[in-house]
């Protein structure tokens, strides 16, 4: 019985984590979409980090 209750708690805990992760990525997606739209409206280009200009100095 205890074992079953433990399993249920773990399942609930894992479900909570999953929900937090889904909410975060949902929010991020919204932010990124809104930012891309605003950037476009302002005519601002975003420079990518890996635009080939970086070089490794050995």
């Amino acid at each position: 019985q205890d074992l079953a209750a433990g399993d249920a708690n773990t399942a609930q805990f894992i479900a909570g984590r999953r929900k937090a992760i889904e909410e975060w990525y949902g929010w991020r997606k919204q932010c990124e979409k809104k930012l891309a739209e605003e950037r476009k409206a302002l005519g601002k280009e975003l420079r990518s980090v890996d635009d080939g200009k970086s070089e490794t100095i050995e």
Binding site: I14, W27, C31, L35, E38, K44, V49, K53, I57
Partner: protein, 328 residues
Amino acid sequence: MRPILLQGHTRSLTQIKYNREGDLIFSVSKDKVVNVWYSHNGERLGTYSGHQGSVWTVDVNSTSTMIVTGSADNSAKLWDVRTGRCLKTWEFKTAVKRVDFNEDDTMVLCVTEERMGFSGTVTVLAVNPNVEASQSDEPIATIVNTGGPKAVVAGWGNLNKYIISGHVDGSIIQWDWKNNEKNLSIKPHSDLITDIQFSPDRTYFITSSKDKTAQIFESESLAHKKTYTTDTPLNSASFTPKYQEFVIVGGGQDAMSVTTTSARAGKFESRFYHKILEEEVGRVRGHFGPINTIAVHPDGKSYSSGGEDGYVRVHHFDPDYFKFKIES
């Protein structure tokens, strides 16, 4: 992998910054020196000499051609990264505690200290990205939190829409910086805010505080997103941009309080938290004093911490770090 120790500062570190590509680390210290290092081997590339007081803050522009520094000598200086030449000195009435380039390198903000008859400000200056050009003296804007607690840290929101400042009492304000008007104001921390760092796209940010927490907020709304609770006052908080959704925080009791407890209780460790789940996932030891500043390499494969002990420690993550997966 063993950390690389950057030895060259004689007093406590105040801020570290990686450039956009992450091949360079800029460090500033109370010893008045500004250093630049190769991040992959810790070799010192150069020094920027000229400040007459503790250097509190540094930032580098997105093309790695210029850095700006702020100092207790009541000035901010603009430097040519390649030659080490000082391109401009902006004089203020008080110390410059925080500087930040905007995302298109055309402006820099300076947080100035409040002192005897001078109110603290967030001053916005124009920067001409051409190293050969002359730089303007006149501020574009000056934000004063009249009658309110002074700002100690600040940064630019996305698309330069607003400036977000963190204050001595733990409050955070979003400013319409062109008009010196408050858009939004919250008080999520109960003590001094020590650091503010933005996500790469500047749509959210993390603050660290002496109240022993670090918290994440959305830039646009100042909506609270996450809280990381520790057992030690925090001086810095940073995001890992790739591979793992972590935040790294650092701090520790200051030297004055440490004498009253054992050195072990100083808690001078970098702590890793899962950014989304707010759970602690690991710690890294090493410093002999509080951690004052943390920065993560933009490639997400290493990070650096700067301590009250005068060292910068560059840590490259082990293979285990990349394999780590939380059950969900």
